[in-house]
Structures are given as C-alpha cells and as structure tokens.
C-alpha cells in the first residue's frame, strides 16, 4: 500500500493542471459570456467553424501520413545500422528538437518568403519568384518538419525490437525481401505506426503557430481560431467550446487508431 504514495506527486500534478483546467473548460464551454448562465449557444455556434475544423483534421492527417512515408524508411535504416552508428543517427533525428520550435518555424519563413532565400537564389538564376509560402503546402511542410521526430522515434523503437530471426524465418519459408517486409516487418511495426501517427496528428491538429507563420488567411486552422478567441476576440466561452470539440475529435481519432493494435501492444497515448 505504501507504493501508493509514490504516485502522489503525479496525482497532485494531474489534479491541478489537467483535471481542474478541464473542468474550467467545460464550465466556460457551457456558460454565456455575458451573464454567466448555462447555454448551448457556444456549442451550436461551432457550426460556422466546421470547415476550419475539417481542414485542420485534414491537414494534420495528411502531415501524419507524409511523416509516416518519410519516417518509416528512416527508422528502418537507423534500426538496421550498427550500434555506434545507430546512436549517431538517432542523435541527428533528435538534434533539431533541441532548437526552439518557434525559431525553426521562423527559419522556414526566411527560406520560403517571396523575398526569401530560395526565391532570391531562383531570382539570381532568372526564375520568377515561386509562391512557396502562405498556402496549405507550406503549412504541411511546417508540420512535417516539426513533428517528424515524433514519428521516427516510436517507429525506430518498435522496428529495432523486431527479432531478426523472424526475418530469417520468413526468408526460410519462401519470402523475398519485399514479401518479408509485407508479411512480417510491416505487421509487426503497426504499434509503432499507430503511436507515431497519434504523436504527429495530435499536436498538428491543434497547432496555431505554424499556420500563422507559414499559412495565409485561407489556411486558418482551428488552433488559430481558439487562440484568437482567447487573446483578441476575447470570447473564452467560444474558445473553450471549440477546444472541447477538438478534444472529442482527437479522442475519437485516437481510439480508432488504437483499434489496429491489440490491447497488449497498444502504445499509451494521451
């Protein structure tokens, strides 16, 4: 029973900074901004933001997919490398994360701007400036760039643990290397795929900074709307309601994802 005390700090932390804020959000979401009475107005007015919400989910899902496509071969390569080299490659993946997220996004602005580094170089070659920034593509690029390590790390962990003997067993039973991948390696890395997608999708769907810097008014994301409700529009009730709906959507997405893994192999998320 004594062991219970060990989880004490965490329980206090959770209560103070997760449960209570959640209750506050619930409270705000269902109260009127003027008289403070109970209302469903905030929730119903979300309808107007539905396209933005859907776009956020769409862009985040697309980013997660691109991260998977880029991240899987990378993780596989790292997991196959010799131990010393593995540590080095792992560090390379982690390295960008040691630089401020804001700074990295601003760096992309400097690169992609109409008068930015890339367009300057193109201009000196006599090519007209390309519209590299303030579109969906730039937002996705920002998301993929920032969240790729969150895809690579769980994938790498899972792929590394796959017993090489299973690969040999599959070869022994008639699999060419392509079939080994499809029949053994890929199915066994599903827990890593699920966890990677979740870890990219969840922050990406609620991000606001990336879309503000790399997107345009046409690529406003739900995170931007929520931020503006709290900071500029000063309607925390609507902001809370939007947060709540977003949370529900995320929970639904995560639970769908987790259905792909069996109970014992699902990676804890959220």
């Amino acid at each position: 029973m004594k062991n219970r005390w060990l989880s004490g700090p965490y329980i206090v932390w959770m209560a103070l900074f997760t449960v209570i804020p959640l209750i506050i959000i619930l409270f705000f979401a269902f109260t009127d901004s003027i008289n403070g009475g109970f209302t469903l107005k905030n929730i119903t007015s979300i309808e107007a933001y539905l396209p933005i919400l859907l776009r956020s989910v769409w862009l985040a899902a697309l980013s997660a997919l691109i991260c998977l496509i880029i991240g899987y071969p990378v993780s596989w390569t790292i997991a196959q490398a010799k131990p010393g080299r593995q540590r080095f490659l792992y560090m390379l993946v982690m390295l960008p994360m040691s630089i401020s997220f804001l700074l990295r996004t601003l760096a992309w602005v400097a690169l992609l701007e109409d008068t930015g580094i890339i367009n300057n170089i193109l201009g000196s070659l006599g090519i007209d400036p390309l519209p590299l920034i303030r579109n969906n593509g730039a937002v996705i690029l920002g998301m993929v760039y920032n969240y790729l390590p969150y895809m690579i790390l769980p994938l790498y962990t899972v792929i590394m643990k796959i017993d090489y003997r299973l690969v040999e067993a599959a070869q022994d039973l008639g699999c060419s290397s392509g079939k080994v991948f499809l029949k053994v390696t890929l199915p066994l890395s599903v827990p890593g795929i699920v966890s990677g997608i979740t870890m990219v999708f969840v922050p990406a769907v609620s991000t606001f900074y990336i879309s503000q810097k790399l997107g345009s008014t046409g690529t406003v994301l739900i995170g931007d709307v929520i931020e503006s409700q709290f900071k500029t529009a000063y309607n925390p009730n609507l902001g809370a309601a939007l947060s709540l709906v977003l949370m529900v959507i995320v929970l639904i997405c995560v639970s769908i994802m987790n259905r792909f893994t069996t109970d014992d192999e699902s990676v804890a998320t959220l």
Partner: protein
C-alpha cells in the same frame, strides 16, 4: 540412405578476420539424420546457416543435388529451418504460422488447409489452431516451429538446437518424436546440438566439430567406440586418456606394462593416446589386477557409482555398480576391446585426466541453454 544430397567442399568462413569454419568437407546423404555436434563456438551453427542460405561461405563450394548453391538465397532453397528459440510469428496464430510458407507459395486454399491439417495431426496440435503463439508452452511452440517448416515438404529440414530451451523430460519425448517424424517422412534432417547424448540417440551420422574443424564423422557407435582423437573421446561420453607407446601391432605399453589391444598399423614405438571408457573397466581384488590404485573419491550417480582411482598419480574415472570405500586399494582388469588407441593430435594431453574431478561434470557439459552468442552477434551485423 543412398544418394548424396548436399556437399560442402573446402568451405571456410571468417567473421572480421576470425576463422569460424576452417576448410570443411562434408557430404550429406538423402534421407539421413545427420547431427552436427560440438561445443559452443565450434562452427556447427555456421555450417547449418550456410546450408540454409543465411550465410555465404568466405570460400569453398556448397552443392545441392550436384548444383552449386552458394549464391541461391534462402527463399529459393528446398530447405526449411527450425530455429533456435522457434522464431514464430507473434502476429499470427498457430494455424497462420503453419500456413505461412504455403500462403507465400500461393497454394490453393483447399489443399492448404488439408496440408496444415496433416501437420496439426502429426505434431499433436489439433485444437490449437486459433491460439496465439505467445500463449503456448515451450513444447507446443516447438511443435509449431516443426510443423511450420515441414508443411512445405522440404527435401531437408535444418534444426538449430531445437530442444535447447526445453526441460529434460520434454526434451527426451521430443527426441523420440523428431526421430519418428524423420523416419515417417523419409527426408534429410540436419540437426545442430551441443548435447552428445541427444546426438547419439537420434542420429544416423554424427559430425563432431571443434574450433571450426570437423574432428570426426561416423555413426554414433563409431564416434563413441572409435574416437579419432582426444577431443572426440572426451566430448562424447567420459574417457580416461593415457599416454602410451605402441610396442607392436596389437600391443600397447602404458604405465610400464604391455596390454593386448585390437589396433594395429602404427609406427615402431609410436607414441599414442590410449582411451579407456570408465564403464569398460572391471574392478577386481588388488592381487588379481593388471593395474592397482587407491580409491580417492566415490559419487553415487543413480545407475552407477563414479569412482576416482589414483594410479601412480594419474587419476582415472571408473563407473561401477559396486560400491568401493575411499582409501581402498583395488585392482583393475582391461580386456583387449576395452582399450582404444588413437594417434597423437593437437588435443593430446588436454583431456582425459580426472585429477580435478568434480561431481558436476555432467551438468557442465549438459547446460540447458547454451546459445552461440559469439557467432550470432557477428551474424546480425550484416
């Protein structure tokens, strides 16, 4: 047991400059049960992996049915493997594990289910089809691994220490079962083990290996009764190995006495190793013995006693069903067929002396799980 199926010619294997296999020549006949026997790191697993196609020999030729297969990848060989620690697919159930190879071969579903059914029957796994493999016991996993390999009807089944992780009782049962399956199917089994008893029990041919070299190839009776050198004599069973000199054909001299033996063809006064098996020695009263010595230790082993007897400073192991008290002065008699003569080899003088006898010798040479770590580490770096 007639025609040759696999031949290794002058096969060598080096990992990072370290020679693991040293010019192996080996011929494996169709439908024989051949065992590669040796201590850990002797190259037996590497030999198996070369036949399976998981490794290419650094030099030499591998022939299958007369065709060179050095560069044929594992999935194109008519060979299947039962891996050490099974290597079952954890994401598939028992049925799908067994059906794996047939699905890859795109066998039509009715035939597939018939053949998987046959295997389930043969390995006694009926009723386990839907079970997850990680919910099985070691013995059941072993059966799945065997069924998964045999369902493809390979010409050769490779088994890499398949019983290493099982307890003694189960191991004995599985030995009998493997032998039965091999005889029933009439295909070639190549079996790797470090357990000499297992090798003697199951094999048609035993290949004793050490330090990357084949020390002896022969039937179980051959390698036990006519060991080629001190290593084989010591590794297979227990042996007293004594320095001797051939006085003439059929006559060997050791401990200053001449004994009649059954070996000939040595040079005049050629130094030799004399092997005497502990169970062949007859204990007699001191005055009737060829040799006399003092009992220094006795251990009860169940079937017999292990008796250590000091002959002029050289300690012998004698196995007898009769108790001899410590300190007793006894004599022994040696019949000509109890004495086996071997040529001197690099192993001479390394084995066969029981001066540092410990009652645990059995357990030491029979450890339950002994994986060939050095070999494996090098393998997976590729």
């Amino acid at each position: 047991m007639s025609k040759e199926l696999i031949r290794l010619e002058d096969c060598s294997m080096a990992f990072d400059g370290e020679l693991v296999l040293d010019s192996i020549d080996l011929c494996i006949k169709d439908s024989e049960f051949l065992t590669l026997l040796g201590p850990s790191g002797c190259g037996k697993t590497t030999t198996l992996r070369i036949i399976g196609g998981f490794q290419k020999p650094s030099s030499g030729t591998v022939l299958f049915d007369g065709v060179r297969i050095n560069d044929v990848p594992p999935y194109k060989r008519q060979v299947n493997t039962v891996f050490q620690r099974y290597a079952l697919f954890p994401h598939l159930d028992v049925y799908d594990n067994i059906a794996f190879g047939l699905r890859i071969a795109k066998l039509p579903e009715p035939e597939l289910s018939m053949r998987v059914g046959e295997m389930l029957e043969m390995t006694g796994l009926k009723g386990f089809e839907e079970r997850k493999v990680d919910s099985l016991s070691g013995g059941q996993m072993q059966r799945v691994a065997i069924a998964r390999a045999l369902v493809n009807r390979p010409k050769v089944l490779l088994l890499d220490e398949p019983l290493g992780a099982l307890d003694l009782r189960l191991r004995k049962d599985m030995q009998n079962e493997l032998k039965r399956i091999q005889q029933q199917l009439g295909i070639t089994f190549i079996y790797v083990t470090h357990d000499q008893e297992e090798a003697l029990t199951m094999s048609d041919t035993v290949v004793v290996m050490d330090k990357g070299k084949i020390q002896q190839i022969g039937t179980p009776e051959d390698v036990y009764n006519e060991p080629e050198n001190a290593f084989v004599a010591d590794f297979i069973g227990e042996s007293n190995i004594i320095d001797g000199i051939m006085a003439a054909d059929y006559q060997v001299e050791f401990f200053g006495k001449k004994f009649v033996c059954e070996d000939k063809g040595f040079g005049p006064r050629e130094p030799v190793d004399v092997v005497i098996r502990p169970e062949d020695i007859d204990i007699v009263p001191a005055d009737a013995g060829h040799l006399c010595g003092t009992v220094t230790n006795i251990t009860f082993k169940g079937v017999h006693y292990d008796i250590i007897v000091d002959f002029k400073g050289f300690k012998w192991l004698i196995q007898s069903t009769d108790y001899q008290p410590i300190g007793e002065y006894i004599g022994i008699r040696l019949n000509p067929n109890d004495i086996h003569i071997m040529k001197k080899s690099v192993y001479s003088g390394m084995f066969g002396d029981y001066s540092s006898y410990s009652a645990e010798y059995d357990e030491i040479s029979d450890s339950d799980i002994e994986y060939e770590d050095i070999e494996e580490e090098t393998l997976y770096e590729e």
